[in-house]
Every structure is written in structure tokens, then in C-alpha cells.
């Protein structure tokens, strides 16, 4: 019986539960110097001078460095982006956001470094600041890169067809804010660098150690073979630890230049201003449909805030565009985007990276359309899903979806939620409190006072492993029968040690305890793409699984030689973990015997290395239903239920699957209701620590009602899709839609995220001051309508 698909407890847990993980900041490194960064207090300014004399003379200080001292960098943007927007490792000539590192102090203790950093005198000349991306895109806005002459870093412009909405009975428009958030893995950034036998050894808190290796080599001007990167335990990443940060390159450069061990761990407050932010899109949607709710055309224009330097954030709209139509069969789709730099923390990938934004836009648009047509949002979705028998299907933006069954996920979610009863309860609450709202005049101007119920739906489809590429996996049988697995993925909470062990145990008939999974060391694992974009299982897991199958083939061949039988006659008894000739189980060879025999006889280990390349990405999907209570007096929103039905193909371990979804739901709900990284107009951060930033806690969330279905993909032999980001993608719009739904009878059409009490209260107040109009509008027949902005 196969272990695959079973709820197998994590092999990783005991260490974390007893002595804790070994994170970069936990590593002992005798004699290491501490780096402390001097950061810009100004959002935009010219650096007139940097005086380091006093800091250099301070006790315990080894050196103070500015960019020119490093002999490394600058960092260049990704291929598609304006190549002139380069980033020096430490600000040179100009600072572009509060928190930008300007100088690095190297000291014998961290405390001495902190004290000395205060003594570095930087003379700034303030420049006009631009925080709002809409302003940044306009002519006349303050320019961040003078020689570029524009703030636009990247554009996807496909033009606009003037006849785009011809034939539509109704066109609904809405401006939607997908606000800037802070990813906040619980472990902040940390790095340890030292020279060992002429090579740089760099311990990184990263999702992609091989990428760190090549990036450091490039910016330091070293050979890749002279860089050794190790990623020990990592305390979460969520996409924002997928790249390399300037501070990390500085740490490496100092270790190399001084030939001394160097370490750095930021504080959380530094992290909020240095670690990449996520999302930060302004979206204009326009959706056109027939009067019976069949969508004919959908336009999405994205304005992406990149922050001060175009990092991964600049190209998020590329991913947004790929998934713009979501789960719907829409004949015409237009999606253009503009990515602009602003005087804020650079934006990078955050759980979903561009795809949650696509889903948020279309799912909000669907609800706006449903409200306009006075149709049930579930019914509008049903009428527009890509048909289950249409797969594989290529959407209007050219993305090819592998498999899906969107209607099934919806019906299942509605059933679990008890949708009809919820709607009945909603109606009861509405009428109990405001029986007179629909009758003109009576109750006009007075908002009903009570807790209203909101029910939000979101049907999502996601592209996982969107960047393609392959993954490395190796399986080796040791002479003692232990199996060592090497993987190019780089888990930081996902449970690959458990999952990959299950795959190997299933293929080889060895017990989980006899399998060791090695990752995150570039000297041991030759190549790897890391863990991001929900790629790990469908690429890395499949590579490991294939390697195990190859090892079984080799083992069978070897056993046949030793048993003097034909390989075809030799079978693997998976319950015992040994090979024998069919029909004569008493004469057999164990994995240990074969591992030893391979070394003895052939002088090489019994092993297989595989580089698996998938023919394409996969597309998990599902439907989330969110139920909120909104207190009309206070604007307070409480998430009372969250139901999710998720389908990521075949399921390897439902325990891990559920864990990924749960975490995603919380992050999505947090964005919908609580979290926002905010700036004032001068570019001063207002949420720069965990006391001010509304990091979601257990007290604000319910338990989730999660269930899954299995629609396999044909893109890999295991039939698996990615699941790391789906929870966030599905949950965010479901929660937001629930808030809007709770207020819809008051004439509220849209509330931006996060739906804070102030925002909700203002929306209710604005609507109730025009209740007669809203009530009248609610009775009128659908017509061409414009809601919100352009």
C-alpha cells in the first residue's frame, strides 16, 4: 500500500520543538565582526557628504565603509526593466527611500557598531518626494533617476481597442487598490560571511541558495566556484527572501575585502524598511457583459509601484497579466501595465507575486458586475466559468491552463458553507433592522444599526512554477542501507524532508527513518532553483521521485547480476526493501547489500541524479467562501468563517497541503482586513515596526473550514500542482468581497483593502447620507454604469 496521499507527520518537527532550529543568527562564528548599517532618514535627497571620522575613532570600530570602498556592485535590474535604474550597494550621491543603507560600520560587537553608526554624519540636501505611484507616472513628477528622465521602469502596453465593449449591455468600472504590505517572515534577514581556503563561505537566510551563489559571484567579481552558499534553517520567506539584498552583498564584500569573518542580523524595525514589500498595485478594471451576466470583455490596467529601485516588483504585472481572466471564459481581455519608481521601499515578490493581484481584480469585478445586474455572485460565476470539458484551454491572454473543474469547486464550497442558509440569515438581519430601507423616505439618512452579515466568494486559478526551469534531485543508497536525497529546492517551513522522503519510501520500499534529505548547501547540491512560485513539489519533488525510480532500476539490474537472474525476473519487495527473483523470496538482496556491492564491484555509489524539466506550469484552482460580520456602528469587521475548497492535483500529504493553505488564508485575510504599509506624503514610513504594523494575530482569525479535491495534471508523472500560494490568492478577494457584500444593501459598491473600521465606517456614512438615492438606484433596471474612478 502506498504511503502517498497519507497524513504523515513531519520529520522536521522534533528539532524545532526541543532545541529550536538553527537559523543564520544562531550560528557561532568566533571572532566575527558585526555590520551595522547607517540608513537614510530621508525619502529623497542628495548626499552632500559623509563624514566617518568620528565613527572610525569610536571604541571597538574596525572600519566605516561607503559605496566606493566596497569594490562591488552595482545591482542591475531584471532583463525586461529599464537598465539605467541601477542600484549602488550603498547609496551614492543620492538617497531614494527612508531606510536605504548609506554606510556600513564594522565593529567588534554589535553594540559598538550601533553606537558608532550614530556618529556617522551624513549631510543631505532634501529633494521633492514622490510616494504616490499615480503622481509618479505623471509628467512633472519628481524624478528618481535624473539620467533616465522618467519614473517608468517597465511597461506592458498593448493599446486599447475602442470597440472593446461593443455589444455589451452593461459595463462596470472600478478602481481597486491592492495595497502595499510587508511580508514579515518571523525571522528577519541575517547573513554570515567568511573566507575559507580562498573561497567565500556565505550563510544566507534565503529561499534560493544557488541564486545567492551566482548573484554574489557576479556583484563581487568572483568565480561562482569560489563562492559557497549555505542556507541553514530559514524562518519563513514568502517570496521576499527569493532574491539577494544589497546588504547581503555588502556583508560578503566586507568579509572578502578584509579577509575576516563578518556577520549581520537586522532588527525588525530595520527589516520593515529594508526587506522588500509586496503587492502595491493600483488597478482599473472594466468588465462588460450581456444583461444575463455573460462576460464579453474585460480590461485590466495596472499601475505597479516598484519602490525606489526596480526589483522583482517591477515585473509583477507580467504575472498579473498571465492570469488576468482568472477562471472565466472571456472572449476579449486587455491587460496593460506600467511600473513606476517611487520614494519607498523596493517592492518584491510576496506570496503569490502578481497572481493574487490578478485574482483580486477579476473577483472584485465579478462581484461589481453581479451587484450591477442584481444577480447572485455565485450565479454570475457559474455562467462564466471555463467549461470543465474545455481543458487544456488557452485564454485570451495566451496562457494555457492544464486541467480544472471550477464549477465543482464552487458547488462544493457553497455546500460546505451552507450558502442558502447564509443568504437567508443575511436577509433576516437586513430586514430585522431596516425593514423600511426599501421604502422610499422611511429610514432615509439613518443607517441601520447592527451587525450585518457579508458573504464573499472567490474562485481562483493560479499559475504555479510560472518561470519554468528545471530542478535537480538525486538519490543515493549508502552501504548501510541509508538513503541520501539531495534536492535543489530550499524549504523554509514547507516540509520537503517529509514529503521527499515519502516519495522515495514509496518508490524504493525503505522506511522514512532511513532517508536523509539534504538541501541548501551549494557544495553538496550542484544546482537548484530554490523554493518559490509554488514550484517545489511539481519540479523538485518530481525530480527526486524520478531519481528514486532510476535507482530502483539500477538496483534491480545489480540484484539480477548478483542473483544470476534476468532483470525482468527480479522484483522489488517494497514491504521488505529487498529484491528477489519472482517466486523465490527467500534468496534476496537488500538495499544495504546493493549499496555496498555497487561500491565494491563498480567503484561507484548506487545512485541517480535527475534534472527534471516540466513541459509547462500547472494551474491549481478552487473556491473560497468568506463570512464576515460588520458592525455598522463602529465599522469593525469580524471574519467569522472561512471556507476553502482547493485543488492542486494529486495530494502527496494532506497535512502539509492543509498547512500551506491555512497560512495562505491568514495572509490573505490579513491583507483584506488589517495590514497595510503606509507612508506620509513626505515618504516617512508610518508602520515601521511590529507595534505599528497590523500583523495579524490568532485573536483576529477563525479556524478554517478547509477541504480539497484532486484533479491531476498531466504535466508530471505524479499529477501534482503547486499549493504554496493558492491560499492567499483565493482568500484575499473572498474576504474583501464579503465586506462589500455586507454593505451592498446600503448602496456601498466597493471598499478598498484593508477594510479597517475607519474605511468601513466612512463607506457606510457616505452611502447612508445618500440612502434614498441608493435605494432608488437599487430598484432601477441595470444600465451602463460607472463606479469609482476612471
Amino acid at each position: 500500500m502506498s504511503i502517498l496521499g497519507n497524513r504523515v507527520l513531519r520529520r522536521e518537527d522534533p528539532k524545532f520543538l526541543t532545541v529550536g532550529g538553527t537559523y543564520v543568527g544562531d550560528l557561532e562564528l568566533p571572532g566575527a565582526l558585526h555590520v551595522v548599517f547607517v540608513r537614510s532618514p530621508l525619502a529623497h535627497g542628495v548626499i552632500r557628504s559623509i563624514d566617518t571620522d568620528e565613527a572610525r575613532a569610536a571604541p571597538g570600530v574596525v572600519g566605516v565603509f561607503t559605496n566606493a570602498d566596497l569594490g562591488a556592485g552595482p545591482m542591475t535590474p531584471m532583463g525586461m526593466v529599464n537598465q539605467s535604474m541601477v542600484r549602488p550597494l550603498l547609496a551614492e550621491g543620492r538617497v531614494r527611500y527612508v531606510g536605504e543603507p548609506v554606510a556600513a560600520v564594522l565593529a567588534e560587537t554589535h553594540a559598538a557598531g550601533v553606537d558608532a553608526a550614530e556618529l556617522v554624519a551624513v549631510d543631505y540636501e532634501p529633494l521633492p518626494v514622490v510616494v504616490d505611484p499615480v503622481t509618479a507616472a505623471e509628467t512633472g513628477a519628481p524624478i528618481l533617476f535624473d539620467d533616465v528622465g522618467t519614473n517608468i521602469a517597465f511597461e506592458l502596453n498593448f493599446g486599447e481597442d475602442p470597440s472593446f465593449f461593443d455589444g455589451c449591455d452593461v459595463v462596470v468600472r472600478q478602481r481597486i487598490l491592492n495595497q502595499r504590505v510587508a511580508p514579515c517572515p518571523l525571522e528577519v534577514r541575517s547573513a554570515v560571511a567568511e573566507m575559507v581556503d580562498g573561497r567565500l563561505r556565505f550563510h544566507a537566510s534565503t529561499q534560493a541558495p544557488h541564486d545567492v551563489r551566482s548573484t554574489l559571484a557576479r556583484y563581487l567579481g568572483m568565480e561562482e566556484s569560489a563562492v559557497h552558499v549555505v542556507s541553514p534553517d530559514v524562518g519563513g520567506g514568502f517570496g521576499a527572501k527569493g532574491g539577494v539584498y544589497a546588504e547581503e552583498v555588502v556583508v560578503a564584500a566586507l568579509a572578502r575585502n578584509l579577509n575576516r569573518p563578518v556577520r549581520w542580523t537586522e532588527t525588525r524595525s530595520e527589516s520593515m524598511l529594508g526587506f522588500g514589500h509586496g503587492r502595491a498595485q493600483m488597478q482599473d478594471v472594466a468588465i462588460g457583459a450581456t444583461s444575463d451576466g455573460k462576460i464579453q470583455a474585460y480590461r485590466l490596467n495596472v499601475l505597479q509601484d516598484c519602490g525606489a529601485y526596480p526589483d522583482m516588483g517591477a515585473v509583477l504585472p507580467f504575472l498579473t497579466r498571465l492570469m488576468a481572466p482568472g477562471v472565466y471564459a472571456i472572449p476579449k481581455v486587455e491587460c496593460s501595465s506600467r511600473s513606476v519608481v517611487t520614494n519607498t521601499v523596493p517592492v518584491t515578490a510576496y506570496r503569490g507575486a502578481g497572481r493574487p493581484e490578478a485574482t483580486a481584480a477579476i473577483e472584485r469585478a465579478i462581484d461589481c458586475l453581479a451587484a450591477e445586474l442584481r444577480l447572485d455572485p455565485a450565479e454570475v460565476r457559474r455562467r462564466n466559468y471555463i467549461a470543465t470539458d474545455a481543458f487544456p484551454v488557452t485564454t485570451a491572454v495566451g496562457t494555457e491552463y492544464d486541467t480544472g473543474d471550477y464549477a465543482m469547486a464552487l458547488e462544493r464550497a457553497l455546500e460546505v458553507a451552507g450558502y442558502e442558509e447564509l443568504r437567508a440569515e443575511q436577509a433576516r438581519r437586513r430586514s430585522a433592522v431596516a425593514p423600511d430601507l426599501s421604502s422610499e423616505g422611511a429610514g432615509g439618512g439613518l443607517a441601520p444599526r447592527s451587525k450585518q452579515l457579508g458573504i464573499g466568494l472567490s474562485s481562483y486559478v493560479e499559475i504555479t512554477a510560472p518561470m519554468g526551469g528545471g530542478e535537480f534531485g538525486a538519490v543515493e543508497v549508502k552501504p548501510d542501507g541509508k538513503v541520501v536525497v539531495r534536492t535543489g529546492t530550499s524549504p523554509h517551513g514547507q516540509g520537503h524532508a517529509t514529503a521527499w522522503s515519502m516519495l522515495v519510501a514509496d518508490a524504493m520500499g525503505v522506511s522514512l527513518e532511513d532517508i536523509e534529505v539534504v538541501h541548501g548547501d551549494t557544495d553538496v547540491v550542484p544546482r537548484g532553483g530554490g523554493t518559490m512560485g509554488s514550484r517545489s513539489l511539481q519540479l523538485g519533488g518530481v525530480a527526486v521521485s524520478q531519481a528514486a525510480v532510476e535507482v530502483v532500476d539500477r538496483g534491480r539490474q545489480l540484484a539480477a547480476d548478483l542473483l544470476e537472474a534476468a532483470p525482468d525476473d527480479v522484483v522489488l519487495d517494497k514491504t521488505m526493501g529487498r529484491f528477489h527473483v519472482a517466486g523465490t523470496p527467500s534468496i534476496s538482496r537488500t538495499w544495504a547489500e546493493l549499496g555496498a556491492a555497487s561500491l565494491d564491484r563498480d567503484g561507484q555509489a548506487l545512485q541517480a541524479e535527475v534534472d527534471f524539466e516540466a513541459p509547462g506550469p500547472t494551474f491549481p484552482f478552487g473556491t473560497h467562501v468568506s463570512v464576515v460580520e460588520v458592525d455598522l456602528d463602529t465599522g469593525q469587521v469580524e471574519l467569522v468563517r472561512h471556507i476553502s475548497v482547493d485543488d492542486a492535483g494529486r495530494v502527496l500529504n494532506p497535512l502539509l497541503f492543509g498547512g500551506q493553505v491555512h497560512g495562505g488564508i491568514a495572509q490573505g485575510a490579513a491583507q483584506a482586513l488589517f495590514e497595510e504599509f503606509r507612508y506620509d506624503a513626505d515618504g516617512n514610513p508610518l508602520t515601521a515596526n511590529l507595534a505599528d504594523y497590523s500583523f495579524v494575530s490568532a485573536a483576529e482569525l477563525p479556524s478554517y473550514e478547509w477541504t480539497y479535491t484532486e484533479t491531476p495534471t498531466g504535466k508530471n508523472a505524479l499529477g501534482v500542482k503547486g499549493i504554496g500560494e493558492a491560499g492567499t490568492i483565493g482568500s484575499t478577494p473572498a474576504v474583501q468581497n464579503a465586506v462589500c457584500d455586507a454593505l451592498s444593501h446600503l448602496g456601498v459598491r466597493h471598499v478598498d483593502m484593508p477594510a479597517t473600521p475607519v474605511r468601513v465606517w466612512e463607506a457606510v456614512s457616505a452611502a447612508s447620507s445618500s440612502v434614498p438615492a441608493a435605494a432608488a438606484a437599487a430598484r432601477s433596471e441595470p444600465a451602463n454604469a460607472t463606479n469609482g474612478g476612471a
Partner: protein, 172 residues
Amino acid sequence: MKVEVRINGRSVAAEVEPRMLLVQFIREVAGLKGTNIGCDTTSCGACTVLLDGQSVKSCTMLAAQADGLDVMTIEGLAPDAGDGSAPGATALLHPVQRAFHEHHGLQCGFCTPGMVMAVTSLIAEAEPGSLDEAAVRVGLEGNLCRCTGYHNIVEAALAAAREAGVAAGATE
């Protein structure tokens, strides 16, 4: 200044700077790295330990304030389980640790030591029959986790509470 703290039953004494925090004393002086630091505003709870049996965030106090007191960190909860790697070690875990394992209450593990200590204290201080889901959620408000969405942490806490006889509606 000289500070002496009993940590997991072992006396640790050292000459330290007056500004040293208890969490730094635990990590740097006692060398116990299980207790983590996740913030600088006493918001995250990653540093939660038991001080004379009560849970505290060890970044909220100076090492000097713990002078002469008893601290228990994650490493002291089930010393027989060692680092958990020996065969059968999971059977030696503290009931709260075991509940986290059985209910997948951890992913990256960074919040875990603080979370486990917080749950341990929540259960120790609860009246019989008093801990329901709402009480657990409110009780863990000061312990942040970015990975689990709290669902399985709450499940684990309720399972451990049932075992300890303090869960609401528990019949044991």
C-alpha cells in the same frame, strides 16, 4: 554587573552590561539558541520563556531583573528528548510539544519555541474546563506566527488542554 539566573535548572552567572536583555543573556551568555528574537517592540512573542513559571517575553526585561530567578526555555521543557533526533525521542516530548507535532502546529519553526512556552503557560494557568477556542486565541494574541495561519496551533493547544483536563467541555 554580575547576573546569575537559573536556566532550565542550571545556574548561569556572568558579568554583563547593564543594558543586556534577558533574551540576550539566554542566547549569548547561556548559549541557548532555541529562544528567538522576532522584533524590537515586544510584539511577536518569539522570545517567550517561563520566569518562575509565568510566561514572559524575555526581550521585555533586563537580564539584571531576572537575577536570582528561575527561567525555563524550550530546551528545558523535555530534557530527556534531547534534540529530538534519537529514535523514539518524540515519545519523550512534553504533551504540548507532542500536540504541536501531531497537529502540524509549526512550519518554519521560528515562532515555535515561544509559541510552545506560551501554550504551556496558558494551560498551566487555566482553570479546569475553561479553555475553549476563543480563550486560546485571545491567550495567544501576543505570539505571532506567519506560517501556520494559527489554525493548527490552536488545534494543538486545544488538544494539549484536553490532555491536561483544562479544555472547555472536556470530560477527562
